[in-house]
Point group: C2
């Protein structure tokens, strides 16, 4: 509906520079905008896009600015007028909320508000008692011009009505609608002189994804260890049977390591040993055997029927099934014989195995994404995703994406999401910061992070600032895993069960998405290969016999955390995170709200798994919108505390190392708190 006409546009060529005198208005510093619009920002359904920009022009000119947005495939722009965010700043803002999955576009327009200028100046002249006979003629002329532009459109008759009302040679009283009528102002916005409208030079994009792309609780498990019979190879059906165990902990994404046939050539034995014994199950990441590749299920895990049953059972429990996709092959993968051109070849004719010299990974052949047949390969890999989408999966955890070219991911994710915008991709890249960010820019919905290694107050504060208070929040959504099959971090190795409570609480409250690898986590498994962060006797290479019913499990605590997460919108976003002042390096405190500010949670965590820690927490009451007299309600213990000062004493023992306070404001009556706000 709002398109810049080229009526007044004139290309001028001075010294090889092209200057188009299309508008005297400038639109700049548009936010959010990633790398000059090269990459989309991200939102989930229900999240708003708040757009700000500096908009200004020369002189005393008033201006109007509008935000335009539409679904990418739509043709009709929606328009919202932008509001000034304060005189002197030339900062304007407006917002919209995408209401469908896929891609939306947004851009801005602004123009000198001739009618507004006229209204302002003439009103001042009236106030100063100056004669405004000529000015009224000018104002009427502006109306006539707008009516001419409106020709035919809805609104034409309204404008004509105003013209009639004002008359041909109006008196001051007759012309009063020119100065005061709000509806006339709206019409003049709609039919403004668009010949010299500034249209922002870029159309920006936002990828709209399902809520789980931002807010989800992940549980990783190896089906082969989930048999009720000790050390018997578990199956998908065993997982189906025990899925309520996971649901009771409140996790809503269950993700499985690769479920494909496992190669036998150079199969790894227990603890990643180079030799395997017959009966060793091998690593699920050595994908492919005579029994199939990325579109097959490892026979020992079951059939496609079993898989369908698992997907169904999960759905009934409110759980989405996620698959781990590792684009690499064992030497036995069918691709190796069918498409040798997809691999790297050495001068002696052999296919290159993976290596990081001097280390060799002879059980894995990397794919050559730059081979002559790269396009067939890329499309085949897209088909792998489409295949599993057909089977009911829409969440994919991608293994080691940082070892494949960025353009490949951009291609694959765009292609998949064009048909299935509900698809969610989690990037498992533990790489350098710019690489992790680039993968997010290429379209990954969520990203693994450095959370696992950020343990001190200083580290956590700085890292979360980067993730939530910088531009990164627009395109990289963290998923805080407290452990993974590859990482048993030092803090969990030496801090006992308390450290598991601490790390789970931090992950679940700092980040809208979090996850664990279980049951190793809830059973507080802390035995590592000495001097490493590898699990001793890792499930990656052998079948474990988990004691699901161990009395010492922290599963109930995890369930409580996830329940709090579900019922509190404050925890469904990252950008409202704010750290709070607390006078101890061993205590960390922060708050979050929902974007509308109605749900305010304050989390306090004792970072020391060995000792009781105490300190004074100071709240910036005014900025948080809290009166001096309020109540904090610990959602973990259900205990309430009445506070009547910004500074309050807190104390946390290592075995109950956190408060998650819901802040309850006093109702303006003497006998009650509004417990339900």
């Amino acid at each position: 509906m709002v398109e810049s006409s080229s009526r007044h546009r004139a290309g001028i060529d001075a010294s090889g520079e092209s200057t188009a005198f299309d508008s005297r208005v400038v639109i700049e510093h548009v936010q959010p905008e990633i790398d000059a619009g090269k990459f989309p920002i991200k939102r989930v359904l229900g999240e708003r896009v708040v757009v700000t920009a500096n908009v200004h022009t020369d002189g005393h000119n008033a201006l109007r600015a509008v935000l335009l947005y539409k679904p990418s495939h739509g043709s009709q722009w929606q328009m919202v007028e932008m509001r000034s965010a304060g005189a002197g700043l030339d900062l304007y803002h407006a917002e919209f909320e995408p209401d469908a999955l896929g891609t939306y576009e947004y851009t801005l327009q602004a123009w000198v508000d001739n009618f507004g200028n006229w209204r302002r100046d003439t009103t001042r002249k009236i106030a100063a008692g100056q004669d405004i006979g000529v000015e009224i003629c000018e104002g009427r002329a502006l109306l006539e011009q707008a009516a001419a532009r409106a020709a035919g459109a809805t609104g034409t008759s309204e404008l004509k009505h105003y013209l009639n009302m004002i008359g041909d040679s109006p008196s001051l009283s007759q012309s009063s609608p020119l100065f005061t009528d709000q509806r006339l102002s709206e019409l003049m916005l709609e039919f403004a002189e668009r010949g010299r409208v500034r249209r922002y030079e870029r159309t920006l994009k936002v990828t709209v994804e399902p809520q789980e792309a931002l807010f989800s609780s992940w549980y990783e498990l190896f089906p082969r260890s989930w048999s009720p019979i000790a050390y018997k190879h578990g199956t998908l059906s065993d997982v189906t049977a025990r899925l309520k165990y996971v649901a009771d902990m409140g996790f809503d994404v269950v993700y499985l390591p690769p479920i494909h046939p496992i190669g036998t050539t150079k199969r790894k034995g227990p603890n990643n040993s180079l030799e395997s014994e017959p009966g060793d199950p091998g690593s699920p990441w050595a994908i492919g055997s005579q029994e199939g590749g990325h579109k097959s299920i490892h026979p020992e895990l079951g059939t496609f029927e079993d898989f369908a049953a698992l997907v169904d059972a999960a759905k009934r429990l409110g759980i989405k099934l996620a698959l781990d996709i590792a684009f690499q092959c064992s030497p036995d993968h069918p691709y190796v014989s069918e498409h040798p051109e997809w691999f790297y070849h050495r001068p002696d004719g052999s296919i290159k195995y993976a290596e990081n010299p001097p280390k060799k990974y002879e059980d894995i052949y990397p794919l050559n994404f730059e081979s002559e047949s790269w396009q067939q390969l890329w499309d085949e890999l897209c088909d792998v995703i489409f295949f599993w989408i057909e089977k009911g999966v829409h969440i994919f955890r991608i293994d080691n994406p940082h070892t494949k070219p960025y353009p490949f991911w951009q291609y694959l994710i765009a292609k998949v999401k064009s048909r299935h915008p509900e698809t969610v991709f989690l990037s498992e890249a533990f790489a350098r910061p710019r690489i992790m960010e680039q993968l997010a820019k290429c379209g990954f919905s969520q990203s693994y992070t450095y959370f696992t290694w950020r343990t001190s107050k200083w580290e956590i504060t700085n890292y979360l600032h980067e993730l939530t208070q910088t531009q990164v929040v627009e395109f990289l959504r963290p998923n805080f895993f407290a452990n993974t099959p590859d990482i048993l971090p030092e803090n969990l190795q030496y801090g006992g069960p308390s450290s598991f409570l601490i790390r789970a609480t931090l992950a679940a409250t700092l980040s809208a998405a979090w996850g664990i690898y279980g049951p190793a986590f809830e059973l507080c498994v802390n035995q590592a290969v000495p001097g490493t962060e590898e699990y001793l006797d890792s499930e990656k290479y052998e079948i474990k016999n988990w004691e699901f019913n161990d009395q010492r499990t922290i599963a109930p605590y995890l369930g409580r955390l996830n329940q709090i997460r579900k019922s509190h919108p404050a925890l469904h976003n990252n950008r409202t995170l704010r750290f709070l002042e607390i006078n101890s390096d061993e205590l960390i405190a922060y708050c979050k709200t929902d974007p509308r500010g109605t749900d305010l949670l304050i989390t306090v965590v004792n970072l020391d798994p060995y000792n009781v820690q105490s300190g004074y927490l100071t709240l910036p009451l005014e900025e948080l919108g809290i009166d001096a007299d309020f109540q904090v309600h610990d959602l973990i213990t259900d205990r309430r505390y009445n506070w009547s000062s910004p500074t309050n004493f807190v104390q946390l023992p290592p075995n109950a190392p956190a408060y998650i306070f819901k802040v309850r404001k006093r109702v303006r009556r003497e006998f009650d708190f509004d417990y339900f706000v």
Copy 2:
């Protein structure tokens, strides 16, 4: 010389997204870059352009990155290899120094360094004692491919020589050049596989201007008050005769308010009164009369011969003459009758005078930059500039640019500089920050600033941070005027002569360009129209009789300041400014160096014009590259102090309110300081 070939480029269309698999390397966050390359950065001759960027790729791939640059009209890119600025950051940097006025372009290229990967991996395998027979064949093949690409170019024979030296089936010792030869590494850079080179998507520009665009000392004067005979209308020749007075103060730019014929219609009288008496000279900014317009000289000031003599005299004294250009007309300007279409017309047929309702400026007609004949008008105004360039002027102070459209300035400056790249434009905009920045982006070489109103330590520190430590330093060059004919700031009205010393010192040392309006400044004139910042009996409306030889003049102090500025490269730039810790809110301290760090000056100023102030100055010695034992040499008084601690006591009376310390490092001999470093 280095152009990306499109050999491997392939457009892919997935879901309407075009993905070109041209390179797996990313180049991002290129600095300096203004608004995605929409505007050039600025340098003066002798200034370097240090370019940084994040460059990275997937996996363990090594890469090489180069900075390319050339004059805009040149066809040959120069190449500099970029160096890593630290592992983990993926940050690279390189620099170049433009050696001619005009526009330079720069961009980046990067690619996966196949040869580097091979060298690194194979070297590790050798160290681990692995067999590398196949690897040597791979390495030799990379050389052969490079030789094929080099075909014909210089370097081909060198590559062939290496191939011969290594032989067909080389042993480890024969193949050693492959691993160690530096020249071979250079050849492999030059003839790298460019099919998958990432070329940064933007070509960035730098405007290269003469040094005075950055570093200059300005003196504004009204010739009509420079007659040796009291109250007689002064002339350009009077200025010529007295120009040594200005040169003795060390100013190198003398700028004159408009020197054109002054209109008589609605001429303003003394103190901006609406009625003028016969004999009142009128405001020089009411430009144009029967005697001519912007290309004429006010007859009472003299002739074009007198003007030429002034330009010559100035040149002999090392002074450049700058003109004030105000694109507006008195009702008597020839344009009004010759080109009525260049003005605004009201419905009653009259031409619109300037107004800011309810205020009227009936002696001024604004030009209509958007009229139907805008292009003729714009070109005529360019011709005004060309006219005065012909007369020997290359520095123009532009009056109120913020009341004319940005595109006009972009057009005019580009057109003028394409023929005369030595031209310097100073923007006299006291407008909102975004507007002042936009004018600088449009091409103004220098900008008036808010310095005049930044007086407290907090204000100065914050404002200078914005100007020198943010991206603003790349495109906006401040000119710190301590006063102007329009602004006698409060601090000068009430602080006595001390405040003039303070403000001059701050301006001259904080900003590479500074200026005053004299002789009102050096004579410490401080009488304002009560309650305003207007000079009482302002020279804008009447002829003054200046007492040039007043004993109380601070001219000698200003001369000292300018002499220090000339001889110290530390003061020729803004970006090295750094504030220092001093424990008094009334004392401010900062240092500057030249870009190579050899000239280090520390300035300490007492901001209180009424009282002696003292405090402890603490220097970050290590960061400044100073040993604990050093000397500071006050360039104002020529006194020296030996300091042997980071913290030292300073005390400044209001009548000698500043130190400008040259830091002299101890020579590594016991008996001397290196006074001359």
